[in-house]
């Protein structure tokens, strides 16, 4: 059992992994977290130069930048542990005296908890500082998220479980992490290409299915289920998301276990 998991050794390895993450790619989470500040600076400069007035970007633009930053963070996961496939750095990593399970758990904690936590903390803190410092900036994104978003969710007749949102975010993080572990080169492009391939495949399958169904039947089916409880459907989708997260995690584990240099 000690060869599979030892809490003391895991503690040592986790601290090692955290330091490695910070020196390798961890700073990227901070940089992406500061993209809101960068956007604010550019917007202010733009207005000052071309309109001669001080004007902070509006909430829609800020929300869009936040969403793009989130996408950038997800894409970046293809690089966080990308060194594992490098002959020199990857060999050093494989030879660290910790078990596969310990390396895997540490990788999951860092990818799914630590990195998002760094990003959200930096992003929201920087946004809050700007909202305090500049009266034209408006309300901080964090207070908007905590007050307006639940209201938006409540206005929708269908209940979207919070866990589904988290699982969906995690599955994206794990997908790009897995491609970082699988591919030696062009990690991000490879991951995106496969994603595009899957998308094309599913779209063509779905369009074939839809085109083969009689539209009258579809309308009558929609009418029938219009009053149905969609919450059950959401919980099913949550379960599917959970399965996707689990499958991606299992693939990452076996990749770590079988990687050779």
């Amino acid at each position: 059992m000690k060869q599979i998991f030892d809490i003391k050794r895991f503690g040592k390895y986790f601290m090692y992994d955290l330091r490695q993450m910070w020196t390798n790619n961890g700073k990227a989470a901070v940089v992406i977290g500061l993209s809101g500040v960068a956007f604010y600076s550019v917007a202010i400069l733009w207005y000052l130069l071309f309109k001669g007035e001080w004007n902070a970007p509006g909430i829609t633009a800020r929300a869009a930048v936040f969403s793009l930053s989130l996408v950038a963070l997800v894409f970046w996961q293809s690089r966080t542990y990308g060194y594992v496939t490098d002959k020199k750095a990857g060999s050093d990593w494989l030879m660290i005296p910790a078990s596969v399970a310990e390396k895997f758990i540490s990788m999951m904690v860092i990818t799914l908890i630590v990195i998002p936590l760094i990003f959200f903390t930096v992003y929201m803190a920087a946004d809050w500082v700007l909202s305090v410092a500049d009266p034209t900036f408006g309300t901080a994104l964090f207070s908007l998220l905590s007050s307006k978003v639940p209201a938006v969710f409540e206005s929708i007749p269908v209940h979207i479980p919070g866990v589904a949102v988290v699982l969906s975010f995690w599955s994206n993080m794990l997908y790009f992490l897995l491609f970082g572990l699988l591919l030696k080169r062009c990690k991000l492009i490879g991951a995106l290409a496969v994603l595009l391939g899957i998308d094309v495949l599913f779209t063509s399958i779905l369009s074939n299915i839809v085109s083969s169904i009689d539209t009258e039947k579809v309308y009558s089916f929609v009418e029938k289920i219009s009053g149905a409880d969609f919450n059950a459907v959401w919980w099913c989708l949550t379960a599917v998301s959970f399965l996707i997260v689990a499958a991606l995690a299992v693939c990452s584990y076996f990749r770590i276990k079988t990687i050779k240099h």
Binding site: Y16, S91, L94, M95, V100, H261
Partner: protein, 280 residues
């Protein structure tokens, strides 16, 4: 004790190692020699568990290297030919990575670094290739492990550092440790490596200690030519000849001449040293 039995490995359809069997005992510094491409580095990476054997087995005191179990990983050190420049100081690297090995000695690391004249607080990504290699060598020696696998450790070292490496190896490697060094620079390690393993494509041509080698082969540094010479090399002011030692006289083994003699007379040398290993 490391037991290698009928080991085979290939890169795709290109077969590199086939039917390799040998024993590697503790308390010795093995020199792993062979021509380019015979699979020396591949063999070392198989021994430390970076690769999975396609055929055969490797047994390290009852453990399989490819299993990469923490206790075996903590008991071995793999020093590749090219090492990675970590973005922290040598001391930080040693503390960060050494904590996984029970017998790691930070004071020993400091002492060996002093001997190699490398600054412990210098950042590793700002070091020259030679300094970086020396840092990894110092770290390896401070780990106090039982199995060392070193691929061309003297590559990139300056002349004084090669001597320091020899001294450090003698001084700091634990007595019961097995060290396997793959090298082409045999002169750098001439007085250190014993036994010598000479690898050929799909075969181990020789796995013997210097005493056994000098009892079976005679290294003649004189000028008189010998008819039975297995290998002859002209040198300034004389020549080196290797021939079967029929008189039982002792001679100093010249590893380069030995290597060439073995490669020129593969079957004869194999028969002479009878490469059979215990199948158990």
């Amino acid at each position: 004790m490391i037991k290698v039995r009928n080991l085979g490995f290939s890169y795709g359809s290109k077969e590199v190692l086939k039917n390799i069997s040998m024993d590697i005992a503790g308390g010795s510094v093995y020199g792993l020699l062979g021509e380019n491409g015979v699979g020396k580095t591949t063999l070392l990476t198989l021994l430390c568990g970076l690769k999975k054997p396609k055929e055969g087995t490797i047994d390290v005191d009852g453990r399989t290297p490819y299993g990469r179990k923490p206790d075996l990983l903590a008991d071995q050190y793999w020093l590749p030919d090219e090492v990675s420049p970590v973005s922290c100081s040598a001391m930080e690297f040693a503390k960060r990575t050494g904590c996984f090995r029970e017998k790691f000695d930070i004071e020993k690391f400091r002492a060996v670094m002093d001997e190699f004249e490398v600054e412990v607080m210098q950042r590793m990504n700002a070091m020259s290739a030679g300094q970086l290699k020396k840092t990894y060598i110092c770290f390896a020696l401070a780990c106090n492990v039982r199995y060392y696998y070193m691929d061309e450790p003297t590559n990139g070292l300056d002349i004084p550092s090669k001597a320091r490496f020899r001294n450090a190896l003698v001084k700091y490697v634990p007595e019961d440790a097995s060290v396997v060094i793959s090298t082409h620079q045999v002169r750098d390690l001439e007085n250190i490596i014993d036994p010598i393993i000479i690898l050929d494509k799909r075969d181990v041509l020789l796995n013997a200690g210097l005493e056994e080698i000098s009892s079976k082969l005679y290294f003649d540094y004189g000028t008189a030519l010998h008819n039975d010479a297995l290998y002859l090399e002209q040198t300034p002011g004389g020549c080196i000849q290797v021939y079967p030692n029929e008189s039982g006289e002792e001679s100093r083994v010249n590893i380069e001449a030995l290597f060439n003699a073995v490669y020129k007379n593969k079957e004869l040398i194999k028969a002479m040293f009878s490469q059979k290993v215990n199948e158990s």
